[in-house]
Symmetry: C2
Subunit: 254 residues, 2 copies
């Protein structure tokens, strides 16, 4: 059985804790966080600590803390030569203090406090300095998820910037759609099926083939009418920038 210590009490720490709860192959033997927060009613009081000095002996220490806390916290750990991993998409593995064996256990998903995640479909990107630690991380990930990828720090960086486009920026487009509907007293939920289908399509066809709309059609009249509807200058700018990008990308093919 793989003994795990989770450090941090944010979204990722909580979801990881819950993910490991039903597993036989691994056990979270201790949690460290500054507020001594419990993740689950069944969690034993003495398995939580706010004292970095009293961390228990374990096989893997998972630092699920804010990106900028990874380096300082890893340097505070009171032991050497243990496997210490972080969960960040953008921090290099080598940002961890080199007194321990370093690795990454990056769940490529968007976690929120109040929304459960089916871990089985969460891609887990792993990296470690030593081959046997790669195996240990794979062993840890296998019963949790059916999608495990060995990914270098450089590749993880690329994935992270792509994730910003398909998640953070996409969500902002949803928030603009929501604002426009609200401003005109139209229920935003009318657009839910379209949003779901847009996301479904990407699995079945290349997004270049799925591209439709006034921009790719060079439908100048509609584009102008849309720009007149938008009252917010930033919404206008996003509309223009994305329209220009779509026309530039597919211009040659039209």
């Amino acid at each position: 059985m793989i003994r795990v210590v989770i450090l941090g009490s944010g979204n990722v720490a909580q979801h990881l804790y819950t993910g490991f709860l039903d597993q036989k192959h691994a056990k979270v033997i201790q949690c460290y966080n500054r507020k001594r927060l419990l993740f689950h009613p069944a969690q034993e009081e003495n398995s939580i600590t706010d004292d970095i000095g009293s961390l228990k002996e374990a096989d893997i220490y998972i630092l699920a803390v804010s990106d900028n806390a990874i380096t300082p916290l890893s340097a505070q750990l009171p032991f050497k030569n243990k496997l210490v991993v972080h969960t960040s998409g953008s921090v290099p593995m080598k940002a961890l203090c080199n007194l321990n064996k370093r690795g990454v256990f990056y769940p490529l998903q968007t976690f929120s406090r109040d929304k459960n995640i089916d871990f089985d479909s969460v891609p887990i990107c792993i990296e470690a300095e030593e081959e046997k630690d790669v195996h240990l991380l794979k062993d840890l990930a296998t019963p949790l998820s059916s999608k495990i990828y060995e990914i270098s720090s450089d590749q993880r960086n690329i994935l992270h910037v792509s994730a910003v486009f398909v998640n953070n920026f996409t969500n902002h487009l949803f928030s603009i759609g929501n604002d426009i509907c609200k401003e005109h007293n139209i229920p935003f939920e009318i657009l839910y099926p379209l949003i779901q289908e847009t996301a479904q399509k990407v699995i079945q066809m290349n997004p270049d083939q799925a591209q439709t709309g006034p921009a790719i059609r060079k439908d100048t009249k509609t584009i102008e009418r849309h720009l007149n509807i938008l009252s917010d200058p930033l919404q206008k700018e996003i509309y223009q920038t994305l329209t220009k990008a779509i026309q530039s990308k597919y211009g040659k093919k039209l």
Copy 2:
């Protein structure tokens, strides 16, 4: 039984034809298109025409043709005082020739030739000049979809610009994610679960609450690293514009 004639042979015409195929309450008695295209093997040859002069007597004529063909085609119809509707999100109802009774039957979804759609979840936005035609369109839509909305031309315009953000522009962000991954030999499919979850979240929480990422965190270091990774100037511009918009929208709350 409601007798329907469908004009046009594009994505919407084909999906509508298929949607009505299993219905008892309505029957597509004829299809008009310039290429005499068949939509289905069971379709009878003599129910297809390319001659606008020989349209059959029906209760509803659906013009599922390109936006800019709606006005001229509606003016060519060889009859008067019949209910004629178009299927466009952005064309006003009054763009139809006023010799007939006018209406709109707008399925708010993204249709592609090779992808089936479950019509039951497609919101149908209807509009008509006369109350009894609104009822007829509702009768036509009811067995097809569980989401029917009476929407004015002005509201439809608003929905359409929102749809451009949540569908066309979102799809372009997916295509950028795909390009970035391809450029660096990383399988884009690693991002599919994140894309699905992003779209799922919007149903369960307000997109403003779901916003995460370096922009809202004002994580300047990560933003800079990402901009350095992007080689395409248009990708850079989109990254900067959306980052600025997110920071401006949530700036006060941070």
